[in-house]
Subunit: 134 residues, 2 copies
Amino acid sequence: MNDLTIGKVAREAGIGIETVRFYERERLLAPPARSASGYRFFNEDTVPRLNFIKRAKDLGFTLAEIRDLLAFNEDTVNGCGDVKVLVEEKIAGVEAKIEDLKRIRKGLKTLAQRCPGTGASTQCPILAALTNNK
Amino acid sequence: MNDLTIGKVAREAGIGIETVRFYERERLLAPPARSASGYRFFNEDTVPRLNFIKRAKDLGFTLAEIRDLLAFNEDTVNGCGDVKVLVEEKIAGVEAKIEDLKRIRKGLKTLAQRCPGTGASTQCPILAALTNNK
DNA sequence: ATTGACTCTGTAGTAGAGTACAGGGTTTAT
DNA sequence: ATAAACCCTGTACTCTACTACAGAGTCAAT
């Protein structure tokens, strides 16, 4: 009855079957029980666990970091502290990326402003800027 | 005298030899002349071209896009218009990424705020949020 | 003549997060 | 009984931008 085959967990979590097997290989899911014929049977907390993975991915965590988060989840001593450290590192990383992108955007806008948008490339200030400036 | 061997162009452009060969394979550089023994000899605009590639990369262009930019550079009809379109698409892409990251940062900060930073994971509101919320 | 620095081709590996088979076996429904 | 739908393993491929050899040939200096 509660035989959650791989197809069912995948469907319920909204991901592909291959992805479930991939997560198992990557140790984000424990090796599930097997039927006599070798079919995987997952227990009930697998779908919430997959949803956890999805949400953490949406927040920009890598699978390696998610593996850590899931491990902290089992740590009854100071899991919470470890989690908070990871989240704050992630915030710092995200902010660094935002600054990078803003710098890039500024560079691109400077280029776009100077460009008439018509004419031969020999006249193009964008190409000139990329070719000559430091 | 102007025999720019691959080692020289690489050194002058501040990139690796393997990278130069890679750019040739990827058609960012035209196949260079060869000596009798098969050594590459690059002409003088190769180093500026490699600098062009570096600057465009810094602005977030992929190698495929840079290949396009370099081709527009040879277009005497409307290279400039094509270039401007590409730059503006890139700006839009960068801005979309910035918005994504801001959304992610907001999610992470919400998590971090609620977390005491000590104690068992069973009490951790971050893990709880990742496990239960939509 | 020999050493060391340079170059050649071709192949393979890296990270990250999967996706796509091929070639089987199993379960379920009709 | 048979077809559809499901599952298994194992391997290889995707993308991006390189990087790292192995094994061989070449060039410049001593």
